[in-house]
């Protein structure tokens, strides 16, 4: 131990320096963009259902009840997208991933913004933009693991794209 550290320790015993906690948590090492992808599809689906109700008038108490429920689910799933993307970005992604994938930080940032925009709007184009951004993120994620991906029409009622890892 160097002399400076010993001096600091003596000073600490006399003065009692405040403590800064590095603050640890439990690692799990399990990451997958799948939850974010499915949540983004759900956001698209909610906008589809809202549009359906509005086409039929959207003025009855039952219509309004449906819309409130759809908007609530849309809010929740946009928030799931934000949470899942943030965890993978902050927890799994390392500087070497960002270096190998220029634009990754911008992609993360824009995905989070698009999730907010999809909450604010019922325009399906906003939900589609979020969905596409999440799919791109999934492609980058699997690329960091050297797992090839494929884009295909999903099996969901959204009938929109899903990125799948080729296993």
């Amino acid at each position: 131990m160097n002399m400076l550290r010993r001096i600091m320790e003596k000073a600490d015993r006399m003065l009692g320096f405040p403590v800064a906690y590095a603050h640890c948590d439990i690692p799990c090492g399990i990451y997958d963009p799948y939850a974010a992808q499915v949540a983004a599809h759900t956001v698209v689906r909610m906008d589809m259902l809202i549009a359906d109700v509005m086409k039929s008038g959207g003025t009855t108490a039952e219509d309004r009840n449906k819309i409130v429920r759809y908007v609530s689910v849309k809010e929740q799933h946009a928030e799931i997208v934000k949470h899942e993307i943030t965890v993978i970005w902050g927890d799994y992604m390392k500087p070497e991933h960002a270096a190998a994938n220029p634009g990754l930080q911008e992609l993360v940032w824009s995905t989070l913004k698009l999730a907010g925009k999809a909450k604010q709007s019922t325009d399906i184009k906003d939900a589609e933009a979020l969905l596409e951004s999440v799919q791109k993120f999934a492609e980058v994620f699997w690329l960091t693991k050297n797992v090839p991906t494929t884009r295909a029409k999903s099996f969901y009622p959204t009938e929109r794209t899903m990125v799948y890892p080729k296993v």
Partner: protein
């Protein structure tokens, strides 16, 4: 939460900033710093408790700072508690002893 002292010393507890900042080391902190950049190590007020944390800024977006521990596998940070407000920063680390 700005200190009236321009320079403060903190003892580091726990291991989420290892290997660069080991548990038990001391950090000298500039509490007058107002500008932050990704890569800066900062001491901040925890958004979850009354304790003080030490983390590294990973990203600044929307006026908030996303902070993470260097020992990513065990660190509890913005991945759990979200990005933090700049006024929760106590100071920027200058060097480790």
């Amino acid at each position: 939460m700005k200190s009236i002292l321009p320079i403060r010393i903190f003892r580091v507890a726990e291991r989420s900033m290892e290997p660069g900042i080991a548990e038990g080391s001391y950090v000298v902190v500039n509490c007058l710093a107002r500008r932050y950049a990704p890569g800066d190590v900062v001491v901040l007020k925890s958004p979850e408790s009354s304790s003080v944390l030490i983390k590294r800024i990973k990203m600044i977006a929307g006026g908030r700072l996303f902070v993470v521990g260097d020992n990513r596998d065990i660190s509890r940070d913005s991945r759990s508690f979200g990005a933090v407000r700049p006024d929760s920063i106590i100071g920027k680390m200058m060097f480790v002893i």
